[in-house]
């Protein structure tokens, strides 16, 4: 795989290639921010990963390959020892228990909840198009503040392209056993949905930070600078 490196900051990042779309843009943006990017499609490489990015465009069913290759188990074990993880688009959706896009394919189940398709029926009163394509506003959570959106103002714009969405009603059990909602930012399209999630060292964004101008680069940079306590 491509071994081009930028040594100016050299934050090692492992980008997972599971043959779901194009990795070029994500890798390029991370390198632009000074990351030392390794692209891998084998679970062994995750044992030493210091930071993991799971991109993904396309169909939820493509995540089946993560199970088949053993990457799912390797990701889970990296997450459990505190390795910062960022899922982008389908990579975020995969953190849930599943998606109605591929009912037979389970997600990682890190967050309790399921993705579903934007409604095209009466709940879509303005008859807005599905897919949701273009620049839309994000409203980051302010209390407690998110780490991913540090320095990002309310109502900055990011670029989305998707037909399935993550609900704002997700939950995850924290260390004391109580339920927490990991929603880190909300966007409204037809109805409000989760544009981003974060819990401990696990992050997900529905939009494409690598295609969202300076706002997107700020968000990726926050991920690169995040340190597990």
């Amino acid at each position: 795989m491509n071994e081009e490196k930028d040594s100016s900051r050299a934050i090692p990042v492992t980008v997972i290639d599971y043959k779901a779309g194009n990795l070029t843009s994500v890798v390029k943006a991370l390198r632009h921010l000074g990351a030392e990017v390794t692209v891998t499609d084998v679970p062994e490489a995750l044992a030493t990963a210091e930071r993991i990015v799971l991109p993904g465009v396309g169909h939820f069913a493509a995540t089946r390959r993560l199970d088949e290759t053993g990457l799912t188990r390797a990701i889970l074990s990296a997450i459990s020892i505190g390795v910062p993880f960022l899922g982008i688009c389908v990579g975020m959706q995969w953190l849930l228990t599943g998606s109605t896009e591929a009912p037979d394919q389970p997600g990682l189940g890190y967050f309790q909840g399921k993705c579903d398709r934007f409604p095209e029926d009466s709940r879509n009163a303005e008859n807005e198009k599905v897919p949701h394509v273009g620049w839309n506003r994000i409203v980051p959570r302010s209390d407690p503040p998110t780490r991913l959106f540090h320095g990002v103002d309310d109502n900055e714009f990011v670029y989305f392209t998707h037909s399935y969405r993550v609900p704002t009603t997700l939950h995850v059990r924290d260390e004391t056993g109580s339920l927490e909602n990991p929603t880190a930012a909300i966007t409204n399209y037809i109805q409000p949905f989760a544009a981003a999630v974060e819990h401990e060292n696990v992050f997900g964004v529905q939009f494409h930070p690598e295609k969202s101008g300076t706002t997107g680069l700020k968000i990726l940079n926050n991920f690169l600078e995040f340190k597990t306590c």
Partner: protein, 267 residues
């Protein structure tokens, strides 16, 4: 606490188009203070900084040598571009598309090759996702039909050759084959600077569920307000508009806000 955004804020997109031949921009938006105003990489990054929501690079090179130059141009242009980047012109096979994606494009635009071989749409979409495939349609109204807009035909060869195909049907077929967006150019309006064909754009936009990008005829800010209003366009392609006293995408957008059009102002 989370504050839900009060209403939908999906913005209308302004897409800057660069026509390139042999690696040089031959038509499109120029900036007087750019040292090399024909360099696609410099122009694309300048447009993105000034508020263009996306960049389209349309290759009008006809030669084989030029195709190799294109990949190099795409690579250079993509290097410091962090907004969606579409490449079109001369993409005839899934392999052509893959090479352009490898070089750093996020989407490809296919036109006559998709007409000749509609399976091309699915074959690119299966590997790179539907969002990565834009089907470009060059359309003309059928002036003598009882419904000139509804019976508009698809043209090729720069608007000279009538394929006999219905624009509405082709747009719907492209959608069902897995196109992510439609780039609709009105060959009647193209180059006139008299405004987009809003009726045609609205008809296509209503016929499909995927976004429609309007192209052809932009001459002033009002034309964009019209095509986003009555034209029901999701995005509009801009090239020569910037020659008419509008210096940047930002100033175009600032004026569009006055018309009540939701747009993204870059920070």
């Amino acid at each position: 606490m989370l504050t839900a955004a009060s209403k939908t804020t999906l913005t209308r997109r302004i897409i800057a188009c660069l026509d390139c031949r042999d690696g040089r921009v031959v038509k499109g938006v120029q900036f007087v203070d750019l040292i090399d105003a024909g360099d696609p990489a410099a122009l694309a990054s300048r447009h993105a900084q000034e508020g263009a929501d996306e960049i389209v690079l349309l290759d009008i090179t006809a030669t084989h040598e030029g195709r190799a130059t294109l990949l190099d141009t795409v690579q250079r242009t993509a290097r410091s571009l962090f907004v969606p980047f579409t490449v079109g012109g001369g993409i005839r096979t899934a392999g052509d598309a893959a090479a352009v994606f490898d070089a750093g494009a996020d989407k490809v635009s296919v036109n006559s090759a998709a007409l000749a071989n509609p399976r091309l749409i699915a074959s690119i979409g299966n590997s790179f996702g539907a969002q990565a495939v834009i089907v470009a349609i060059d359309a003309r109204r059928s002036a003598h039909a009882s419904d000139p807009v509804g019976n508009a035909h698809v043209f090729t060869h720069g608007g000279r050759k009538d394929t006999g195909r219905s624009v509405m049907e082709w747009a719907q077929e492209a959608e069902s084959l897995g196109a992510g967006e439609i780039l609709l150019t009105s060959m009647d309006s193209d180059g006139t600077r008299a405004g987009f064909d809003c009726e045609l754009t609205a008809a296509v936009s209503s016929a499909v569920r995927i976004p429609v990008i309007a192209s052809g005829g932009a001459g002033k800010v009002e034309h964009f307000a019209e095509v986003f209003g009555s034209g029901k366009a999701d995005a509009a392609l801009a090239a020569s508009i910037f020659h008419f006293g509008i210096s940047s995408a930002r100033s175009l957008k600032e004026e569009l806000i006055q018309y009540g059009i939701p747009v993204r102002l870059p920070c």
